[in-house]
């Protein structure tokens, strides 16, 4: 048993052309999926991240201190749009949950990472 993070890679532009009916359908599918796994105790949390590039800070040249810039994603289409936290036996079980997520069903990638524990 472990805790996993589902990182939803996203490009907000993919959604720009969705119709009203399609958007409503997507919401309904998320509702079904999250209700199912929340009730079974597998889905424990998650947040949507803002659809902006964010910020990144890194150390600059020696003596220059920290440099703050737009996030690493500003130039690419790939943004982490949000994440879910789940509990699963192993990667295979986590994959099974992620596979049914509407995000994956719509052909967008979900990155699955196990959270490191103390022991």
């Amino acid at each position: 048993m472990g805790q996993f993070m589902l990182l939803l890679h996203d490009d907000a532009k993919d959604d720009a052309e969705l119709s009203a009916a399609e958007m409503q359908d997507i919401i309904a599918r998320y509702r079904t999926w999250s209700q199912k796994w929340r009730e079974s105790g597998h889905l424990t949390g998650g947040e949507k991240l803002m659809d902006d590039p964010g910020r990144i800070i890194r150390s600059g040249a020696p003596g220059q201190g920290m440099i703050v810039s737009d996030g690493p994603y500003s130039e690419t289409k790939d943004v982490i749009g949000g994440y879910f936290l789940i509990i699963a036996d192993d990667y295979a079980a986590a994959e099974a949950i992620a596979r049914g997520c509407p995000h994956a069903e719509r052909g967008k990638p979900i990155e699955i990472r196990q959270i490191q524990t103390m022991d």
Partner: protein, 412 residues
């Protein structure tokens, strides 16, 4: 409001996004004017999109419509500020939150939008897709699928319609003189009828989206019946027609195959829609001469009243068609009339009543109808030749498969 509950309207509750899209477009266009149509569409789309991108995480709000309207209001204010306008009374929240008499206010704006989309400058090839886009929240792709157009053609017609819209002033229905309302209602009703018919044509692959057209046409027509200026007798008659035809939808297909009226399981017809339809028809009768919509609704009512095909009151239906033919001068109406003629006086009379001339040579039902009379007269070879022509001209596979069943095996 009519206060008539019916399943077509209840079904709309499932289509919150589409409905709110039409309502928000109507209100925003009312506020900013038709010239701002592109901005308005962007605001509406962005509001829905934000819901689509946050509700999966945050859950569906208690008042989903209110949430959408609040976002739309904020976006509208942002845009006004950016364009240097200082108006701060966008007030959209009040609509979404139910603090204003929503239905009356929004219904008025929706009617105005409908009149705008169906402005006499637009022919039906523009007004139908434009209405679907702005008043019904359909995407270009959905409009193309529903109207059997390719996407590029649909997009072209929508943008042509929007270009004309930008030049039009807003329509104040209450400010129009009575005669003008009647005149402007004409293209509106035609558009709704075409919208409805688009949904009624059989194609099982995209059946759901086409049934949506019937629902949308009915919804907009009910809206017209709810306004004192637009609740004309012909509007009530059209509402009757839509209700009576929609009632038959559940029986029109069986396992993806089309079923002719003659063979439909009438137990599947929606009784509630039929009684609403008959009530509208009753209310539509005035002192003025019946319109084409009255006659079409009268025919649909005769079918709805008959418990079985043989019980149908064909002489009454023929009487309606006789009037319709005089009124419309449409060869398709004459063709449909021949069916009633055949039922009253036999297949030879039916065949003789089929309209002559080139107008219908490319219409599959012209040949299919002739085939039927020829078959009933025992002229199998001629009947099969006619049905083959019909199959060749069929608009889609569902219709083609359906027509195949009417080929008579020839004795060898």
């Amino acid at each position: 409001m009519t206060g008539v509950p019916d399943s077509a309207v209840e079904k709309l509750a499932d289509q919150l996004f589409r409905r709110e899209s039409g309502r928000m477009t109507a209100i925003l266009l009312g506020r900013f004017g038709p010239a701002a149509v592109d901005d308005v569409e962007d605001i509406v789309q962005e509001s829905l999109l934000r819901a689509c991108r946050t509700w999966p995480w945050k859950g569906i709000p208690d008042n989903p419509a209110g949430w959408l309207w609040r976002v739309a209001e904020r976006l509208a204010l942002d845009r006004m500020r950016r364009s240097g306008r200082t108006e701060s009374d966008a007030l959209l929240c009040d609509v979404g939150d139910g603090r204003l008499p929503v239905d009356l206010l929004v219904a008025d704006e929706e009617l105005r939008l409908l009149f705008l989309c169906c402005d006499p400058v637009n022919g039906p090839e523009t007004s139908v897709p434009l209405t679907l886009r702005l008043a019904c929240g359909f995407s270009t792709r959905e409009i193309a699928a529903a109207l059997l157009l390719d996407e590029a053609t649909a997009a072209q017609r929508i943008s042509r319609g929007k270009a004309r819209l930008r030049k039009l002033g807003s329509v104040e229905i209450t400010a129009l003189p009575g005669g003008d309302v009647a005149e402007r209602l004409h293209p509106v009703l035609n558009t709704l009828y075409l919208l409805f018919n688009g949904g009624y044509g059989g194609n099982d692959q995209i059946r759901w989206i086409r049934e949506e057209l019937c629902v949308e046409a009915t919804r907009l027509c009910i809206l017209l019946t709810g306004h004192s200026r637009t609740a004309a007798p012909e509007v009530l008659a059209l509402a009757a027609l839509f209700h009576l035809l929609t009632a038959r939808l559940p029986a029109r297909q069986f396992h993806g195959d089309l079923v002719d009226l003659e063979f439909q399981d009438r137990g599947l017809w929606d009784r509630r829609l039929i009684s609403s339809g008959l009530r509208y028809l009753e209310k539509s009768r005035g002192n003025a001469a019946p319109t084409a919509w009255h006659l079409l609704a009268g025919i649909a009512a005769e079918h709805a009243r008959a418990t079985h095909w043989p019980d149908t009151d064909w002489p009454s239906i023929l009487a309606y068609y006789d009037q319709l033919v005089v009124m419309s001068n449409d060869p398709v109406v004459a063709l449909n009339r021949s069916v009633a003629v055949a039922q009253v006086s036999g297949p030879a009379a039916g065949l003789a009543a089929v309209p002559e001339g080139a107008a219908l040579q490319d219409y599959h039902l012209f040949h299919a109808t002739r085939a039927r009379y020829l078959r009933d007269l025992g002229r199998s070879t001629a009947a099969n030749a006619a049905i083959d022509l019909a199959i060749e001209l069929a608009p889609n596979d569902a219709v083609r498969r359906h027509l195949m069943k009417y080929r008579t095996p020839l004795q060898s």
